[in-house]
Symmetry: C2
Subunit: 365 residues, 2 copies
């Protein structure tokens, strides 16, 4: 597998619109995850707010995607600050939000839902919503201008497919049916992630006001041979299609998914290296099964059987990964690919758990 010379910025976006396959209609997993880490978000927002008490509070959501979660974050933050303002007996600030995602993101859908969203706000709330398209691995805002950054389910996307350093990515399951994470994420990917994440942290450091805060969640990986990643499983499904001559082997060899799922330790190491920029308030990981449930909910009754659960997972993952697969392989094989993917999901179901990394940072003034 060699490098595909296409920066992520040009092809990556969630499936737009409001249709059956859209991200908007398949983002309940992300919502569940957001709810679970909400206490940490509250803690972060309150720390920043109580320290700075801005009259205009500027918040940016990086990798906002499209769909209902985008505005859920906005109302969550408004609610947190409202409540704290009441408690402190200070006036609620004017909110200015900046929704960021790559240039191809479907912002139009979000904008069309704004009139309805504005109607749901309390009468005395002034909330001004903007979009800021572009890559967050670089400058998006003027220096010292943002009070709080949020980013959810985005930082595991790399800025570009790395130059592979003579490495070979081993596709396919081994004798035991395992898909080794290491074969999907070779050292060049780790290097690219480190470079990207540092670039991200430095850009945000410039843009944050002193004592500004940041709440980040993204997918990590477990460093065990048991762990199966989403890009790994899609490559296995693609590899099966190569075996059956539905895809040319050479074509697959040049396909790369520009993601890296870091371990908690790797992230801790990077944050240590950038220690002069931020104080780390929280760095933890939460177990998240692919259907969005936490492990103690495993017996949840949303699904009749494993097939239904696998269908749910597949719709969800498809809304995220289809654009990048389609751009490379063409629309024609998408249904076949995700049917096979679903069967792989059923096969590996109990193993399909990711660590969701949760980080809370404060800019060192």
């Amino acid at each position: 597998m060699t490098a595909m010379a296409m920066p992520t910025v040009q092809v990556l976006h969630m499936s737009g619109g409001l249709g059956e396959k859209s991200f908007a209609n398949n983002s309940s997993t992300a919502k569940k995850a957001m709810m679970r880490v909400k206490p940490i978000l509250e803690e972060g927002v309150n720390k920043m707010y109580c320290t700075n008490l801005p009259t205009i509070m500027k918040v940016a959501d990086l990798g906002c995607s499209c769909g209902p979660n985008t505005l859920l974050l906005v109302s969550n933050i408004i609610d947190i600050v409202h409540e704290t303002s009441l408690r402190l007996n200070v006036e609620t600030p004017t909110f200015q939000f900046f929704l960021n995602d790559l240039f191809g993101n479907d912002f139009n859908s979000t904008f069309k839902s704004l009139p309805e969203f504005y109607r749901t706000l309390k009468q005395d709330t002034t909330c001004l919503i903007n979009a800021t398209p572009g890559t967050f691995y670089g400058t998006l805002f003027p220096a010292n201008s943002i009070h709080f950054f949020h980013s959810s389910f985005s930082l595991h996307w790399l800025s570009q497919v790395p130059n592979l350093l003579g490495e070979e990515v081993k596709i396919g399951d081994d004798d035991k049916g395992n898909v080794h994470a290491t074969s999907i994420f070779p050292p060049s990917y780790a290097k690219q992630f480190k470079q990207d994440f540092k670039q991200f942290l430095r850009s945000r450091y410039m843009e944050l006001v002193p004592e500004g805060g940041m709440h980040l969640t993204f997918l990590g990986r477990y460093d065990t041979s048991e762990y199966i990643s989403m890009p790994g499983l899609i490559l296995v499904a693609l590899n099966d299609m190569v075996s059956e001559n539905l895809i040319e082997e050479e074509k697959l060899e040049h396909f790369n998914v520009p993601t890296y799922f870091a371990t908690l330790e790797e992230v801790r190491e990077i944050l240590k290296e950038e220690g002069s920029f931020f104080s780390v308030e929280r760095l933890e990981s939460v177990k998240l099964s692919w259907d969005g449930s936490s492990l103690d909910e495993e017996g949840d009754k949303r699904f009749k059987d494993e097939n239904e659960r696998a269908e749910f997972i597949t719709r969800n993952k498809r809304s995220v990964f289809e654009p990048i697969c389609k751009a490379y392989f063409g629309e024609g094989i998408m249904d076949e690919l995700f049917l096979r993917f679903k069967n792989k999901v059923i096969q590996f179901l109990p193993k399909l758990v990711d660590p969701l990394l949760v980080i809370s940072l404060t800019k060192i003034a």
Copy 2:
């Protein structure tokens, strides 16, 4: 004709995308007009810039629409400031642009063209582009946050269809084939315009930094019986279709185009009433024929004959007015409507001239 109880904010947008009928592909008339008033824009930008010399210059374009003109304004302003910075031997500021239009505007198209646009900028230029969807007849930005506002071809759109005060709008041409402007713009429309324009000025006054500037151009009308307006001519075409039973009379009676074309005198009067907010640097009108040419270019060779010229005009006006007609009458009659419109254009061609009102204001500190 009675009021249609639909706020402009929900239905008005230019035709999106990049297709044959899109505004993006039919906005050369607006571009020509922009070029003609560029010296006044330069004057306004330079006055604000030399007075304030901001290190971060925040500019908002209100009613940016979609298509190439949106980013043309951005590069025009950057060029003006670059040149002046060189002359003054000061560092060029970081630019933060806010592109505003109603919620239904096609921002996605503009965003997709940004990577290419950013590549055309000088290497040392930092230009951060945002979108701010919403109506400009209200708050869009925090107080004291914007250095310069631009608005082109937008302020003749009303915030809503006014409550008609027992007036009747006379549709149709008189004996001489004239379409009287007064019959299209009854007093309630004038009242609504005045209310909207004052709301606009007050909102911008709050949002501008002290000594901030504003450059506005929008369509006005000549106060003569000879003058034919675009909404007037579309109503005449619709009325013909009523005569031939292609549209129900009652249906047309409830249709309203939420625009008002003010006279220069009306605008002067409103600015005088709001005199404590702004000093008026410029208030003038430029003759603009419907094909975008100034009158001395009337012999321009873009068009083979009157039919070609009328087709050009129709495509242009259709990209602006079709969404609002379609929302009310349905897609089915649009081709027929604009064919008739084109024939009316041919019939009245020499009379199809609007005054483009050009206003330059500075916020009184």
